[in-house]
């Protein structure tokens, strides 16, 4: 029972990690708390949904499409809107991204109605059973993808020129510009990449969570928790934070009460901010 709960939690945590990694990246580089983040998950999920419904493309295969779509969306949002408030006091970026949330979520509602949708693939629900433990294949694959995505993002930031430019811009925007980095472009790239990986998360969840236009905000909130747990702006922290949160929720739901899991999450989030603002890893950005 305990092991099952932990495994379930880890599998869930992997998903949390992917969509939180994008959030963490955007915060770490630009200091923007992206309230529209969950809507990017929603857009990714819908991309997969439509490809599945109209083109019979498996959600796992639609990952490149949703990554590309979301990259374009993210790049555009940053270039057109957020670049104009990135130097302003942080409240501006919160409210601005909230405005963007309203626009995206309600446009989606307009286009796709409020229907609850979900993708039921042929292999949906088939699972691995060993030693009395149940491990759904789709989730296992998702978990694998999650680890690959977060690891890939980490490597991308550390090993490539653009990744290096992103980190440099985050640490000292002016100096980075003097190295020839077009800061606005790099910011837009960052947002695009953050959005793309979030879109991937959307595709990954599309096969086992329910998709609807208003789903975004709750994903944003989870991303808050994950990122604070792992250390804001620290990408590997998102993986750790996601896994911890997943296991925590699973354990509370298993041994106590599912109702308490979210109260407990917020309580822990609150305590973390007060006592360990840099997260469990101690590597988050602290203002």
């Amino acid at each position: 029972m305990l092991i099952q709960a932990i495994i379930t939690g880890l599998l869930l945590g992997g998903i949390y990690a992917v969509y939180s990694a994008g959030f963490s990246l955007i915060f770490g580089v630009m200091g923007v708390v992206n309230i529209a983040h969950g809507d990017l998950v929603m857009l990714g999920a819908f991309t997969s949904y439509w490809l599945f419904t109209l083109g019979h493309i498996d959600p796992f295969l639609s990952i490149p499409f949703s990554a590309l779509t979301l990259f374009i969306v993210g790049y555009g949002i940053q270039r057109l809107i957020i670049n104009r408030v990135v130097e302003a006091p942080p409240i501006m970026s919160y409210i601005c991204t909230f405005g963007i949330h309203l626009i995206i979520a309600n446009l989606a509602l307009r286009l796709w109605t409020a229907d609850y949708r979900s993708i039921t693939t042929s292999y949906c629900g088939s699972h691995l059973e060993c030693a009395g433990l149940v491990i759904p294949y789709a989730r296992l694959a998702t978990f694998g993808m999650a680890v690959v995505m977060v690891g890939g993002l980490y490597l991308f930031l550390n090993r490539t020129d653009i990744g290096r430019a992103i980190r440099a811009t985050a640490q000292d925007r002016e100096m980075a510009r003097l190295m020839g980095v077009r800061a606005n472009h790099v910011y837009a790239m960052t947002f695009g990449i953050g959005a793309a990986i979030t879109g991937v998360a959307g595709s990954l969840i599309s096969s086992y969570f329910v998709i609807y236009p208003q789903m975004g905000l709750s994903y944003t909130v989870t991303a808050f928790c994950v990122v604070v747990l792992g250390g804001m702006g620290y990408i590997p922290g998102a993986l750790l934070g996601g896994l911890i949160l997943g296991v925590l929720e699973s354990l509370t739901a298993t041994y106590w009460n599912a109702g308490m899991s979210s109260a407990l999450t917020f309580f822990i989030l609150f305590l973390m901010l007060i006592f360990m603002p840099a997260g469990i890893t101690g590597k988050g950005i602290v203002e």
């Binding site: 409020a114 609850y116 149940v134 329910v210 208003q214």
Partner: protein, 413 residues
């Protein structure tokens, strides 16, 4: 521009607000305006749209006949409605607007218990009868209101049919687990499941409510699986039902029966989960196969047909209850011969009439108790069989026998 002038300008705007007096809309005496607030956006936006469609269908039907026939004269129906954004405060504001600003003749009910709560309080204050077809919280009826009615049964009653059906099955289930999301409607359904399960002699071995935001149900259901109940009862709406079914499959948990309070009857459900939705039970108040019949829409099947023709989808029991609410008010007006304009005295007469009304409609019999709840309506149970919603209880109206026990996941095609 000096600061003084600017401040003056701003204060003038406030002053203008103070003088905010809305010119009453020009009225036309030979039609009847029905006003309602309904959630078109926000969390209830999806369901609210169904309510709106239902009223539109009714209005269209009436107007096709030239209007409601009252004392030999036909009065066309006009609907005046606003989106309350799923916000109770807005709902209250809108009902007040409908009454005092738009000066509508009569009201119709909205959707969602907390919204209807706020709206009906305003209706009560202004003495406007309100019949709701989209809210069933028990508490709505505990307030001693005289002007509030509902065609739906109380939320806890709704699930009675399901439990009674389970009681009659062979082999009789012994243990049940009840879970549900923690919003008013679904938690009341859980209460109802608990109450009737005890009455039916089932042992409730698990009872748990979870937050509506809960993203992943697997942990919670794994816990239930460990307790191995015969039946899983879920206080649900569509989203919860879809998530539950998918999680059940993911963890390979197949109790002998799964019953939902709401959700599987909504077309989204089968569309989303496909074959996974087979064999689940759901509570209902109405299905098109029922042998009900009445004025306006004719038989239940006729209503279904008309609805499908208009909106290209089949109505669920909420849509039927909503249309029935409008029909009930219409019949009361016709029986009383009350012609517009509707003064306070006429509205009071209407309210009194509704308290003794006993009519038969496509939705079944409508008879309100002292508290305004519909007491004549028997709860129904349905099951998903071959991707279709079929009525399996009560026995006298059922289309087919329930399939029980549900085949386990591994034994399905």
């Amino acid at each position: 521009m000096t600061r003084m002038k600017r401040v003056t300008a701003i204060l003038t705007i406030v002053g203008l607000l103070a003088g905010f007096v809305v010119v009453p809309a020009a009225r036309c005496a030979d039609k009847i305006q029905f006003g309602f607030s309904v959630p078109l956006t926000g969390i209830f936006g999806k369901a609210g749209k169904l309510v709106l469609d239902s009223y539109k269908l009714w209005a269209k039907k009436m107007n096709a006949e030239g209007g409601i026939l009252i004392k030999g004269k036909r009065y066309p129906v006009e609907l005046v409605y606003y989106d309350d954004k799923s916000d109770p405060g807005v709902s209250a504001k809108l009902v007040e607007k409908l009454i005092t600003d738009d000066k509508v003749d009569l009201l119709l009910g909205g959707y969602g218990s907390s919204l209807v709560f706020a709206a009906s309080a305003i209706a009560e204050k202004y003495k406007y009868p309100m019949i709701s077809g989209g809210a069933s919280s028990n508490k709505l009826f505990d307030r001693g209101f005289r002007y509030y009615f509902a065609t739906l049964g109380k939320a806890t009653e709704e699930v009675r049919g399901c439990v009674e059906m389970l009681k009659g099955l062979k082999p009789k289930p012994k243990t049940v687990a009840i879970v549900g999301s923690d919003i008013l409607f679904t938690s009341l359904a859980c209460e109802g499941f608990k109450k009737y399960s005890k009455e039916a002699g089932f042992k409730v071995i698990h009872f748990e409510l979870f937050p509506i935001q809960l993203q992943d149900y697997t942990s919670m259901l794994l816990k239930v699986k460990k307790e191995n109940p015969d039946v899983l009862l879920v206080g649900s709406h569509t989203l919860v039902a879809i998530k539950t079914v998918k999680a059940l499959k993911a963890i390979d948990f197949s109790p002998k029966a799964v019953a939902f309070s709401y959700g599987p009857t909504v077309p989204d459900f089968v569309k989303s989960v496909g074959k996974l939705g087979e064999y689940v039970f759901a509570a209902s108040e109405w299905t098109p196969v029922l042998p009900y019949k009445g004025p306006v829409f004719g038989t239940a099947a006729a209503f279904d047909k008309l609805y499908y023709k208009t909106f290209h989808r089949h109505p669920d029991y909420v849509e039927a209850a909503v249309a029935a609410a409008a029909v009930t008010q219409q019949l009361a007006l016709q029986q009383l011969g009350l012609q517009p304009p509707y003064t306070e005295a006429k509205r009071e007469a209407l309210m009194k009439k509704l308290h003794d009304i006993d009519i038969k409609t496509f939705y079944g019999e409508v008879r309100f108790g002292k508290d305004g709840a519909n007491v004549a309506h028997p709860p129904i149970a349905v099951q998903i069989q071959h991707g279709k919603v079929v009525t399996v209880y009560p026995k006298n109206v059922r289309q087919t026998a329930p399939i029980y026990p549900m085949p386990s996941w591994g034994h399905r095609k």
